[in-house]
């Protein structure tokens, strides 16, 4: 069992506040991903939960018990670091059993726990090796093994895949996810990679500048982003944004080209930021005029970079083969119901509100 509750977490370095009151409830067994650009405070938040940073204000509770003043080893958590932090002078088995040795468990218990974890992670053949003799992916697995043997209430991952190459990253992503489905241990996972967040998380916490920007399931964030920031951060290629204005319930861009009906009722003439995803537009006979600037086929789908008359870039992806070439004049239309609307000032979503 391991639920985590964060209440009004603040953290300052001197006069600089880096976490501005974070509230977060994580259910037992949930896989939560903290995602955001570098400097958003996600790692600091994770390290605060681990007890490696002291918080300036607020409460951290695991299973309802406030653990603010406990040292890391008493918090019943395990952490996997970005650089794995394997002990270079210890074999894989010693690395994995280190916590149990410190806890003075009998040697046969240590051996059996290490063997069990090694089996789960396919490390049995490597138990006598030293970290320097392992590949990046194997080191990563040893780091996870070290966490598993402790059987903690919460796993903490701090950008564990950033040091791996792209292919291995995808593979380890699945392994971590499978591991979680098997062990069902509450997991908090920090990454700056939104694809990792989307593919792994039960729930994503998007952070920005020490604030929580939005919390939700991957598809909730994708379909209903609360702000321009989340809309642009989640999804690749990113959502397209254009300045628009409401004209009798329709959103118009440029010289009055109609994109479609506004998803929210707006005051006539109101200026907004309109957003639509690359896969939600298609080439059509009418609609927004643009010029093809770049064609990037990937096989399964093709990505087009278009330029509107005003010079704004619009990305479009399609699974159909494109007959056009660079420089062609085309028109694009947005799939009905796929427009997002954001306030020009606050950049917050207007969907669901009446302005």
């Amino acid at each position: 069992m391991g639920s985590v509750a964060l209440k009004n977490i603040r953290k300052s370095y001197g006069a600089v506040e880096v976490l501005h009151g974070i509230d977060l409830d994580i259910q037992d067994g949930e896989f939560t991903v903290l995602v955001g650009p570098s400097g958003c405070g996600k790692s600091t938040l994770l390290r605060s939960i681990a007890g490696l940073e002291t918080i300036s204000n607020g409460d951290i509770a695991i299973d309802g018990t406030v653990i603010n003043s406990l040292v890391p080893k008493d918090r019943d958590i395990a952490m996997v670091f970005q650089n794995y932090a394997l002990y270079p002078h210890m074999s894989v088995a010693k690395n994995m059993g280190f916590s149990l040795r410190l806890a003075k468990e009998p040697q046969d218990r240590i051996d059996s726990k290490v063997r069990a974890a090694a089996e789960i992670l396919d490390l049995t053949a490597l138990l006598d090796r030293y970290p320097r003799q392992l590949s990046g992916g194997q080191r990563q697995r040893v780091a996870m093994g070290r966490a598993i043997v402790r059987d903690p209430k919460v796993f903490l991952f701090d950008e564990p895949l950033s040091n791996l190459d792209a292919k291995l990253r995808v593979q380890m992503r699945s392994e971590i996810k499978e591991l979680h489905q098997r062990l069902k241990t509450t997991t908090i996972y920090v990454t700056h990679d939104q694809i990792e967040a989307m593919t792994m998380a039960d729930r994503i916490v998007v952070m920005r500048g020490g604030h929580v920007e939005q919390i939700g399931t991957p598809l909730e964030l994708y379909d209903n982003p609360a702000s321009v920031f989340v809309a642009g951060f989640i999804g690749s290629p990113a959502m397209n944004f254009l300045p628009a204005r409401n004209s009798d319930g329709s959103l118009q861009v440029g010289k009055g080209e109609n994109l479609g009906p506004s998803p929210v009722s707006l005051r006539n003439g109101r200026e907004v930021i309109v957003g639509f995803r690359p896969e939600d537009i298609r080439l059509s006979d009418g609609g927004l005029p643009a010029k093809v600037a770049l064609i990037e086929p990937t096989g399964a789908e093709t990505q087009l970079t278009l330029r509107t008359t005003e010079g704004n870039g619009v990305i479009m992806t399609t699974r159909e083969r494109i007959a056009h070439s660079v420089g062609d004049a085309v028109h694009v239309a947005v799939t009905p119901g796929k427009l997002h609307c954001f306030d020009t000032e606050t950049e917050l979503s207007l969907t669901g509100s009446v302005q």
Binding site: L52, I77, A85
Partner: protein
């Protein structure tokens, strides 16, 4: 660069290295050879380079009780004293240097960098300037002519540099290793002893070697502080040889060879770590 100039380049470099080595090592080698010669051979002209009939007489004489009757100093005792001083002060320096180095490398406290810089500056004073004040101080606290006094003095002299070497090497050890150890259940002390120090072995060995060699060969402070014969060290022994037996150069050679032996052994076994320790952090491993 093509093959030929490169070979030439290496030959030139090696030649320069050989010439410098000969220049530096020749006097040492000359003294070493002298220890196997007889007094008569040393006095004759023209000077012979290799010993005509190598003999260990000088070495035997150094350790023979009969010879010592006419001699002021007891060499086994000198060697014992020097070992006592060098080893004890090395242990002290290593112990406190490690604790201090760790706190400089890991803990945040006001004035940390200033103090660390101050440690280095303290080593810039010429030892000679401290001779008299030190003598006064040691007599005031009754530690002149005492091996313990010298141990404490050498430890004080050796600590700053040892601290500095150890601190800079500990800084190179990723902080996450310790954080990981602490999450795994280690106390700060455990994480230092079980994780950090094993990884800092090169620096610890370097600091120990550096200090041992310095303490073993120190002369100035030993010569003004140690008065009674049973307290003297090998370096004083060497010096008094020169005064007493100016013409019996073979004894000086033999004694100098014996005195050099521990240092050579230390370097022989520690060399691998020594360069690593001094270069720690200079390049990315």
């Amino acid at each position: 660069m093509n093959e030929q100039p490169r070979t030439l380049y290496w030959i030139m470099l090696s030649l320069i290295g050989i010439v410098i080595s000969i220049y530096v090592l020749f006097p040492v080698f000359w003294l070493f050879l002298a220890s196997f010669k007889t007094q008569a051979e040393l006095a004759q002209l023209p000077i012979s380079f290799w010993p005509a009939s190598p003999t260990l007489d000088a070495y035997k004489a150094l350790f023979s009780p009969t010879h010592q009757k006419g001699q002021l100093l007891d060499w086994p005792q000198l060697i014992g004293n020097s070992f006592f001083i060098a080893i004890s002060s090395t242990v002290i320096v290593l112990f406190f240097g490690t604790l201090a180095g760790y706190s400089f490398a890991r803990l945040n406290f006001p004035g940390r960098d200033l103090i660390l810089g101050g440690l280095l500056i303290s080593r810039m004073f010429q030892g000679a300037a401290l001779l008299l004040p030190t003598y006064r101080l040691m007599s005031m606290i009754g530690l002149q002519d005492s091996l313990i006094g010298l141990v404490l003095l050498y430890s004080a002299f050796g600590l700053p540099f040892a601290t500095w070497i150890i601190a800079s090497s500990l800084r190179e050890i990723p902080k996450e290793l310790e954080e990981s150890a602490m999450i795994d259940g280690a106390s700060r002390l455990q994480s230092m002893v079980l994780v950090v120090l094993p990884l800092a072995t090169p620096a610890l060995i370097t600091a120990a070697m550096w200090h041992f060699v310095g303490a073993w060969s120190e002369f100035a402070f030993a010569s003004i502080l140690l008065e009674s014969n049973e307290n003297k060290t090998v370096t004083i022994g060497l010096a008094s040889f020169v005064e007493l037996f100016t013409l019996e150069f073979q004894y000086v050679g033999a004694a100098a060879t014996i005195v050099a032996l521990p240092i050579m052994l230390v370097f022989f076994f520690g060399q691998r770590y020594f360069t690593r320790g001094l270069l720690a952090g200079a390049v990315k491993g």
